[in-house]
Amino acid sequence: MPALANNELRIVGFLCNWCSYGGADTAGVARASQPTDLRIIRVPCSGRVDPLFVLKALLNGADGVLVSGCHPRDCHYGTGNFYARRRLEVLKRFLPILGIDPARFSYTWVSASEGQRWQKVVSRFTEEIHALGPAPRFEAVEPLAKACSWTQESKGPVSVISPELLEQLKKAIADKLPELDCVLGWQEGRDLLHSVPLFIRSEDDLTKLRCDATCHNNLVRYLPDLKGQKVGIIVRSCEARSVVQLLQEGLISREELVVFALPCQGLLDLPRLEEALGRYQRLEDLTLTETTLRLRVDGQERVFQTADFRQSRCEQCPGELPAIADQSFGDFSGQTASQTLPPELAFLDSLNLQERMGFWRACMERCILCHACRNSCPMCVCRDQCIAESREPHWQSAEASVKEKFFFQIIHALHLAGRCTGCGECQANCPVGLPIFALRAHLNRIVSELFDGYQAGCDPKAVPPLLTYSQEEAHIHERSWE
């Protein structure tokens, strides 16, 4: 469609067929004059409105988007708008982190009899969008290559598993191994600093087991693919939360799982460590204590304080282990979450909306759409059916434009709303170092604010907040159109 003539702005409305579309009809029948900007898309129910439609519209040039459904409790389908209310509220609060003014999106309730209310809603919303003016276009915004320190004042040590404890664990696994198809752990990779996943199928494999602070892979990623097999897994607090989340969603079966739990004080941030190390050919030796990391590299001794290279996500780790362990090893006490924000989020918080959009724009120029973020995420359970790549439904063009790449990041983030257990694999595995964990951290913050401090993966019995509703929402307040 060509750009709009006159002073009209591009405003898209998603209206449920039964109430709000009828309300708009009622307003029409009453000849209630309204601004002409809004274009209405009729949907069966506000619950049908995937927040991604709203973002699609906003990224593709809409200046404002309005969703309107039946009043809570009046849904033609009973509960559709209860779900919509949660999802759309999360969406509204999510927009600012992308650099989109949340005032460009609103959702409300208008019944089929409320022609006057509809008139008021349309007039008011259109007025507000006009006050904001045309929306900045993501692809046209000035890229902002702003550097910041991603490190965080760390207070904690990193994990070192004592040889005795490791032996204890190995023995327990060896005992259990005969009844299991495999046990997931870690082993040394291309050198001593780089650990990789280990699939233990034999006593021989077991000898390679390693569980220290270099072991960053979230092994839970493999569990859904192993459904139908009896699998053991070694977890620390972060992995345990991922396990809980998958259990909640029924993607893995508790009966098929044996959970070996280890305490964890923190993990090493390898990308930063590599940066500090610089180019090297051979890593000859490694000694790790809770506070010091000694390396011999190309014949030279290098010493690092582990506190300087602790992963920032370990600062926010609640530490305690959700109640899912079959066997626990070591001492789990003494770890508490810091109240500080993840550095990525703190950085984005410090930017204004325009800067944030510019920042993401610059990031997306680097994104190569390798999908390492998605494929390493333990919660990305769509696997080969991701809507970012499917042709039916055709959510995304194959064009590698900044806009399409950004939309992919949005899909990934929004699909994690209320589900992300904060393991940080997405960001850790990005080859070009995009701080995409900020999107998830922000969503986790929203979910926590809206749903009484909810944190994904902490309670095996909880229902993820966006897959349920409550008739009265304590923290979601209907906006007034007066």
Partner: protein
């Protein structure tokens, strides 16, 4: 595809503010559009014929009509394209009347907007595929909620038409408000004489199952197959044994119970039969006043009951009934007029409601039809009627007219004169609304033949003058003078409101209601008894103020709708339902968790768990589609691709 587009002028309704020819010219350029035109009236016979003709001559396989709201004519045009051999779902509508021409006068902007809405419809249609409805069997029984005159009429008409009826009444007797009336306007014939036989018919009809003193607990299911849980509220009397002999009510020592049926104008006993013609004629114990149930020794009723029907341990019980359709006829209640401090907050016994006045005049009422003042039992000589108490009063959030008060007030003024020859009645009114057959003549009679003084104005205050009478301060706006009347009795024509619990019932039925709790019809003119929930129909005042003849007519209309629905053994399901692409489904079950209808189940496909939609249960809300992260479950004709096509048509530049 080959798409035809029809831009309706709707006379001047659309063409007045939209350049329809230009919209059609633009539409012709849209992808896959091979024909575009702008007829005068698309929905009229020639308009529909033109669509059929165009489908044949242009070999169309999809049609877009841009006209009024699809909520109005979508079914009409679906039938039109079907007649021409297309699948009815290869049709889309653009609403360029209610959403465009009627809400703005800027022709340029409207034309642009209409063009874009047509573009949306075309883009949506391009993604449509023919859909086939499935036939499913239905339960040919009807639930009627509310046993007032509208519900009774609907029940009798349905039952006479051969459809088994389940009639649920909240009170202990059917009859509703009409059973309380003395006479009815404009004929002044006896209410009991015309309603009574119908009530008896209900009791005796073999196809009617009556649950009185019962309420709707829960409703599930969908048109053709509803499952209804009915709460049988405890009466403390085993009705299977009760013969309605009335011995208990004579002997009951608790004689100060509030008499709901008689609007509290006199006390009654704790165990009662509402009135002599009650259907069912069974006793009920008022728990609030029964001595036995309040820890005192009594049980007199149990002792005197010849059939041993009294059961103090009785509790609420539940019955489940399966029906295919529901008629809602829950009527109204009077608003709580005691919010009016200027009328004494209900402190003055001689200020009463019109419904109480009916009971005062009624020969079967506590006074045997003698009009007396509740305070002292004296016959009133000066009676003031105040209309619009709680009607047309925006200050208390009730701007609507209650519809029938003008008429019954005239009737009550006439009857007052009939009862007390030397009385003088005064009626304070704002406007007289008497548009029915013989209605205006009736209000004239009240003035001309019965000497009632009609005073145009509201009453500011009513208060006892300290000397046994009430002072009524009013205004005669025609005279331009305030007036003061010494009254013996003041009758308030109290406004109506939706029956208590109407909103909760609406939520159970998934139907809409307006700001005042009255249920919303599907179309205000053309579908006055239908609701937005298929198979649920409305009758009587629950939909909005109406008098007895209108309520009866609507009761019959609702029955006709039920009989039409049940004219077939099966119903066609809406094929616009969710469909699973098994390949994309990862079996996470998020759709199962969210589905409001339990219409998705998990089934094994090649050893893997996949979601499966139960076609006849899916109602097409699309919540599952919005929930499924991998887009594996798609609501037909509201798929992600449909909506994305619309979003893209609007937003992508």
């Amino acid at each position: 595809m080959r798409i035809g587009v029809f831009i309706c002028h709707c006379g001047s309704n659309i063409a007045g503010t939209v350049d329809c020819a230009q919209v059609a010219a633009k539409a012709a350029l849209f992808p896959d559009v091979v024909y575009a035109t702008d007829p005068m009236y698309t929905c009229a016979e020639p308009g529909q014929a033109a669509i059929e003709e165009a489908i044949h001559s242009h070999k169309l396989d999809g049609v877009v009509v841009a006209s009024c709201s699809p909520r109005m004519h979508e079914p009409t045009f679906r039938k039109t394209v079907e007649r021409a051999g297309l699948n009815p779902y290869m049709f889309e509508m653009a609403n360029i009347r209610e959403h465009v021409s009627w809400i703005g006068r800027d022709i340029e902007a409207n034309t642009r907007k209409a063009t874009e809405l047509v573009r949306l419809a075309v883009e949506k249609l391009r993604h449509n595929r023919p859909l086939q409805a499935q036939e499913f069997p239905i339960t040919r029984r009807v639930l009627i909620i509310g046993g007032g005159v509208a519900g009774i009429q609907a029940a009798l008409d349905c039952a006479d038409g051969g459809i088994p009826v389940v009639l649920v009444e909240r009170e202990a007797t059917i009859g509703g408000k009409m059973a309380k009336l003395d006479k009815t306007f404009p004929t002044v014939d006896c209410s009991a004489c015309i309603l009574g036989p119908k009530m008896v018919d209900v009791a005796q009809h073999p196809l009617i199952t009556l649950y009185a003193h019962a309420e709707i607990e829960a409703i599930s299911g969908y048109v053709g197959n509803f499952s209804v849980s009915i709460r049988q509220r405890t009466t403390y009397v085993d009705w299977s044994k009760c013969t309605g002999c009335g011995t208990c009510t004579e002997k009951c020592p608790s004689k100060k119970s509030y008499d709901h049926f008689n609007e509290g104008i006199a006390p009654t006993t704790a165990i009662t039969i509402a009135f002599p013609q009650a259907i069912p004629k069974k006793a009920v114990i008022n728990k609030d006043f029964c001595r036995q149930l309040n820890g005192k020794k009594c049980a007199v009723c149990a002792k005197v009951c010849p059939t041993g029907a009294i059961d103090f341990a009785m509790e609420d019980s539940f019955v489940t009934e399966n029906v295919g359709s529901i008629v809602v006829a829950t009527g109204y209640d009077l608003m709580d007029w005691t919010i009016y401090g200027q009328y004494g907050h209900g402190r003055y016994p001689d200020v009463i409601t019109s419904l109480a006045y009916e009971r005062l005049m009624n020969a079967s009422g506590p006074t045997g039809g003698h009009i007396v003042r509740p305070s002292d039992g004296k016959e009133p000589k000066s009676v003031v009627f105040v209309q619009c108490v709680g009607s047309r009063d925006p200050a208390i959030g009730r701007p609507y007219c209650s519809g029938f008060c003008c008429m019954y007030t005239a009737k009550q003024a006439i009857l007052t004169k009939d009862h007390i020859q030397d009385s003088q009645s005064y009626v304070f009114y704002m406007d007289i609304r008497a548009p029915g057959k013989m209605y205006d003549e009736f209000t004239r009679r009240a003035q001309e033949e019965y000497g009632t003084h009609y005073i145009r104005g509201r009453v500011s205050q009513i208060f006892p003058d300290g000397q046994g009478q009430l002072t009524v301060l009013g205004m005669d706006t025609l005279l331009g003078r305030p007036v003061e009347i010494k009254a013996d009795l003041v009758v308030l024509a109290v406004g109506i409101e939706a029956s208590r619990g109407a909103r909760e019932l609406a939520e159970k039925l998934r139907i809409s209601y307006d700001a005042y709790g009255f249920f919303l019809e599907s179309h205000v003119k053309l579908k006055p008894v239908e609701t937005n929930t298929a198979g649920v129909f409305l009758a009587g005042v629950c939909q909005g103020a109406k008098d007895i003849p209108a309520s009866v007519a609507q009761g019959s209309a609702a029955a006709a709708k039920v009989l039409t629905l049940f004219a077939r053994e099966t119903l066609a399901s809406n094929p616009q339902i969710a469909q699973v692409t098994a390949k994309r489904c990862v079996g996470c079950g998020k759709c199962l968790r969210c589905c409001p209808f339990g219409a998705i189940k998990s089934s094994l496909v090649k050893g893997e768990e996949k979601a499966e939609v139960i076609a006849t249960m899916c109602q097409g809300c699309g919540l599952c589609t919005a929930t499924c992260p991998q887009g594996a479950i798609q609501l037909a004709h509201a798929t992600d691709d449909h909506i994305l096509a619309e979003v893209n048509a609007l937003c992508r530049l």
